[in-house]
Amino acid sequence: MIVIFFLIPLSVVIAAVFLIAFIWAVRSGQYEDTGTPALRLLTEEPRSKRETNAPKENKDT
């Protein structure tokens, strides 16, 4: 059971990593505008579609 003396602090350290990730997320403003990123996601589509599907002859016109 002595291992528990090592595991408990370790678990707290891992949890602290998540806390730091949360603090970073808040600091970078991710909790302030929860509406726009959802829209931004949709606008990624056409660019990638053009890169993969665009026929080559279109470039001449």
Binding site: I4, L19, F22, G29, G35, T36, L42, T43, P46
Partner: protein, 816 residues
């Protein structure tokens, strides 16, 4: 003004950019048609820069581009007196600015605005906040001027909305602090809880005290940041209220937390136990959750707007025959200003040149434009409708008629409402009782078992910590606020619900609340018109933008059949003329018709607007436009008059007194011809006779009364439109729900009281354990979350139930 021609094309094609129908064939690119040069230019600009994806995101996503502004239109943004007050950040390399773009409306807009850097070298990354309709743009200070950025946005159709209030600096950002405090408290609470479970179940028997000491030490380390950082606001608030010798809810909370921490730390240090850190951090976490729930506000709405958010940032000044944009703050008395169609008179001024038709609807609520001739005095706040005029300012902006209202005392004093007046009232009694019990139990034990005295004293303080009490009001009133918001009744903050429940007098402003602007009843007086004649009138009225014409056209909608209108002419303040199917139609003011030799009989007594009609030089009849009472008010008012004292204040003439007297009941007070200051004084008189007054108004002229009243309700047709500072913003469509709202508010306050009773029961149970000195961590760990969670569940559940009974429940109503 409009050369009547009708639509000449067989099939009108929509504009590829903005979707409006194309009236002109000139603007074509490939197979795509455009409605105007502006839209075509934007299309070409986007295509050249590889941004044509814009059109694949949404059909006709563009914003119709207004005629190009003069090249120097935005130049005063670079003025050293203006620029630093608008930008968020600026140094020699980079500048960052946040601009409001009301035209932003879809995904494609977001994408285009975030790709601005591809349109102009020197512009850096930009980020859109769609709910707030704002964009933050970075650009290189040396390469791009602020005015160039504004001009670029305007040329794309997104003209920045710049108002005088923007000079007060950037709007404060919503607080990140609460999120961080909540995160830290949650982190500590979760981890300590995991460690504590073994303690509750007695599992630490095997390795004995060593394990318990480890758990205690880890819990202690986790609890310290929660105590110092997450609970910091409670320490500060408690300290402030102690210094002011007041007892607010924060005092017993702070005392409880402190006692809990002291006792737990003592246990851990001495090795007697693992303390109550789980309860301590849980308490802080729940309290912060309540605070978060309460702080939810309607971000898109501004409850604090004053005249500055209505005034433009700059005006056109004429100096030595040259027109130049100048910041409004630099306008001096005696300056000559040029006001174009739709522009606002920023300061009291003298009309020097041009035909002024001033629309004061915003200030007075009256929809009838007022005509002015050269030499007339113009009050600030009106909008010019028609051709450009020149005026000479007579007073500084800050001392004009409109702004003088804001210099009234009432706008400078804080209303001084405590956020949780109800809670604080209870906590005052509560704290006295708790301290009494704690001292009594300490005295009792010191005679029997001196060792227990201190412990029981601390225990009582711990258990009595009014966590549930502190949560009841935020959750009950907070969910009431949310439910009302779904019905498009927006409360400034949850404590407004308390005020709503206290109100006993309701004062209405007439225009905009009892009667709807732009919804006048149109009646024709005179021998009835034939169908063909109505068709002629409809064709004419459709061509004019005057509000009366618009109303007549609306009333006659569908009477098509008349041919195109030829030689249409609109003379502001007089009327419209034109010929349809060979008939000469004149519609307008009596004096104007009489000056053309048409005998107009004296109109019958009805108030409201009059439009006289003459066909081929002969008087034919009169359209009377009467302000219609909102139909739902006829049902609402008699119900309200049974429980509340009603009053009516109107800036209008007295012509409709009898109609409203019947509606409001015999006891209602009615005052007409009221100036903004008189309205304010009326409210003050009512308050001095001990009444809690709710004022319902819409125009800027009500701003003083709204501010003075205990509860100001601003009625708006669209929630994005301007509304004066108020406690409640009410969509006009939600007005019939007013009585339901008042009933609901009263119910919600009863829910809070009931929650107090529930939390008091928990406290009595807890204190009975504590006073006997047998409080164990397990009882503490069960009682603390149980009391908090059950109070929160009761508060939210009961409020939702009440809402359904009051007819306010159900899903969110979309904006029409």
């Amino acid at each position: 003004m409009i050369e009547g021609s009708g639509c000449a094309f067989a099939a009108v094609r929509p504009c590829f950019h903005c979707g409006e129908s194309c009236r002109d064939e000139r603007f074509v690119s490939g197979e795509k048609t455009f409605c105007c040069a502006g839209c075509l230019a934007v299309f070409e600009l986007l295509t050249e820069n590889g941004l044509d994806d814009f059109y694949s995101l949404d059909d006709a996503a563009g914003v119709k581009v207004k005629p190009a502004a003069p090249a120097n239109f935005f130049r005063c943004l670079d003025d050293p007196g203006v620029r630093p007050r608008l930008v968020d950040y600026s140094d020699e390399q980079i500048t960052r600015v946040t601009l409001r773009l009301p035209a932003m409306h879809c995904i494609a807009c977001v994408w285009l605005l975030e790709n601005l850097f591809r349109l102009k070298p020197g512009i850096g990354p930009s980020e859109v906040n769609f709910p707030r309709k704002e964009v933050s743009v970075s650009f290189e200070t040396g390469r791009v001027k602020l005015s160039e950025l504004a001009a670029l946005l305007a040329s794309l159709g997104y003209e920045p909305d710049l108002k005088l209030s923007d000079m007060d600096g950037p709007r404060s950002k919503p607080s990140r602090r609460l999120w961080l405090q909540l995160g830290v408290a949650g982190f500590a609470f979760g981890n300590i809880m995991l460690l504590s479970v073994s303690g509750y179940l007695g599992l630490d028997a095997e390795n004995g005290s060593a394990l318990r000491r480890l758990f205690g030490a880890v819990s202690f380390l986790l609890a310290v940041p929660a105590l110092l950082y997450s609970a910091a606001d409670y320490w500060r608030a408690a300290w402030t209220s102690l210094r002011q010798r007041r007892v607010t809810i924060e005092v017993p909370i702070a005392v409880g937390i402190l006692a809990l921490f002291a006792q737990s730390a003592a246990e851990v240090v001495t090795g007697r136990g693992s303390g109550y850190f789980d309860s301590l951090t849980g308490l802080i976490f729940f309290l912060l959750c309540g605070k978060w729930f309460q702080q939810k506000t309607f971000e898109r709405l501004a409850f604090d707007r004053d005249y500055k958010s209505f005034f433009p940032l700059w005006v056109t000044r004429k100096e030595g025959g040259v027109e130049a944009a100048v910041a409004l703050s630099q306008v001096r008395v005696g300056d000559r200003l040029v006001l174009r169609n739709g522009e606002l008179i920023p300061a009291d001024a003298l009309l020097v040149e041009g035909q002024a038709v001033i629309d004061y609807s915003f200030v007075t609520g009256e929809s009838e434009p007022v005509e002015k001739a050269a030499g007339d005095y113009l009050y600030a706040g009106g909008r010019q409708a028609g051709n450009a005029i020149e005026v000479e300012t007579l007073k500084p902006v800050s001392q004009s008629y409109l702004t003088s209202l804001w210099n009234q005392q009432v706008f400078h004093k804080n209303k001084g409402r405590t956020l949780d007046s109800l809670t604080n009232l209870y906590s005052k009694r509560f704290t006295r009782i708790v301290i009494g019990v704690a001292v009594a139990s300490a005295v009792f034990w010191s005679f029997r078992d001196a060792g227990r005295a201190l412990k029981s004293f601390a225990s009582v303080l711990i258990v009595a910590c009014p966590c549930a009490l502190a949560l009841a009001a935020p959750f009950a009133l907070g969910s009431a606020q949310r439910i009302a918001g779904r019905r498009r009744i927006f409360l400034r903050n949850p404590s407004v619900v308390e005020t709503l429940a206290r109100v006993d007098t309701i004062v209405f402003d007439k225009t905009g609340t009892l009667s709807a602007a732009g919804a006048e009843e149109v009646t024709f007086q005179g021998p009835p018109l034939t169908g063909a004649e109505e068709g002629l009138v409809y064709a004419m009225a459709r061509h004019s933008t005057h509000p009366y014409s618009a109303r007549i056209a609306q009333a006659l909608a569908g009477r098509n059949g008349a041919g195109p209108v030829r030689s249409f002419l609109e003379t502001p303040g007089c009327g419209i003329e034109g010929s349809v199917d060979g008939n000469e139609i004149w519609m307008g003011a009596a004096a104007w018709l009489e000056s053309r030799g048409v005998a107009v009989p004296a109109p019958p007594g009805a108030g409201g607007g009059m439009v006289h009609l003459a066909i081929n030089g002969k008087y034919r009849g009169t359209y009377a436009l009467i302000n219609a009472v909102r139909p739902e008010m006829e049902r609402l008012l008699p119900g309200l008059s049974r429980h509340y004292k009603l009053a009516l204040l109107s800036g209008d003439r007295e012509k409709e007194r009898e109609r409203f007297a019947a509606l409001l009941g015999p006891s209602a007070e009615m005052r007409f011809h009221q100036s903004p200051v008189e309205k304010l004084a009326f409210i003050r008189d009512q308050q001095q006779s001990g009444r809690a007054v709710m004022m319902i108004g819409d125009g800027l002229n009500d701003a003083g009364a709204l501010q003075q009243s205990d509860l100001g309700v601003a009625v708006v047709e669209s929630i994005h439109a301007f509304s004066p500072a108020s406690d409640v913003i009410l969509a006009a469509a939600a007005l019939p729900k007013l009585d339901a709202l008042l009933r609901f508010a009263k119910g919600s306050v009863r829910v809070v009281r009931a929650s107090f009773v529930i939390s008091a029961v928990y406290n009595v149970v807890g204190i009975s354990f504590a006073a006997r000195g047998v409080l164990s961590p397990v009882i503490c760990a069960i009682l603390m979350p149980l009391s908090s969670v059950s109070v929160v569940a009761f508060a939210c559940g009961a409020t939702a139930l009440l809402a359904r009974r009051a007819g306010l429940g159900g899903a969110e109503e979309a904006e029409p």
